[in-house]
């Protein structure tokens, strides 16, 4: 019964880089157009989810994804605190937008890893009968 359609597998593979570029675009332009860290991260996570259509095996290392997600979460908390203590001048316009882009990137990757972990845990462990 384990026969997935070859056509879907092939053409989904064709779309991967497009979806990745689109996700990065949504993250990087989060401060001027709609979108941002959460939305772009969800788009990036959907790449991993659609990969399940092609290779339904458990070859993604959930442990290392979890470690990366924890590190990202730690840095998301620590970077604003560090900025608070250094007394950086916030009024400078250019630096402000760089700060926003950097934080959006971190949030985006954290959301991507988090949703991927949720999906694969649900599919391979929690969904068992």
């Amino acid at each position: 019964m384990n026969n997935n359609s070859e056509i879907i597998a092939r053409i989904t593979g064709l779309l991967y880089p497009f979806i990745i570029i689109f996700g990065v675009y949504i993250i990087l332009n989060g401060h001027i157009t709609p979108g941002g860290g959460f939305q772009g991260g969800a788009v990036l996570a959907s790449v991993f989810i659609s990969r399940y259509l092609v290779y339904p095996f458990e070859d993604i290392k959930i442990k290392s994804l979890q470690l990366a997600e924890k590190l990202l979460f730690f840095s998301i908390i620590m970077i604003p605190i560090l900025f608070l203590f250094t007394g950086f001048n916030y009024s400078a316009g250019q630096a402000n937008s760089y700060y926003l882009i950097g934080m959006n990137l971190l949030i985006g990757f954290k959301v991507c890893f988090g949703l991927t972990i949720i999906f694969f845990r649900f599919v391979f462990y929690e969904g068992e009968k």
Partner: protein, 86 residues
């Protein structure tokens, strides 16, 4: 009322008709087909709305549906053909 607003209203009417089919539809595949059609209609409405408001960032949302709309449909179809196994 400009031309594009009338177009938007017509598309909204079509969407309502397809949703009636989805609610009526006897088999589950009819409903899935309706979901697919409504998704295409929503993409069109977003493009027309972007013309009315003259703002190109609305097209990003249409692109999201174009890229990811098929993932949900394919997963539901696969779920049905495997009798409740993803």
């Amino acid at each position: 009322m400009s031309f594009y607003q009338i177009v938007l209203l017509v598309i909204a009417f079509f969407t309502a008709m397809v949703i009636i089919r989805v609610i009526m539809g006897p088999t589950i595949w009819d409903r899935l087909l309706g979901l697919n059609m409504v998704s295409a209609k929503i993409i069109m409405s977003i493009v027309i709305l972007a013309i009315i408001q003259d703002s190109s960032f609305l097209l990003d949302i249409a692109l999201v549906y174009a890229f990811l709309g098929f993932v949900g449909t394919v997963f539901i179809a696969r779920f049905i053909e495997r009798r409740g196994n993803l």
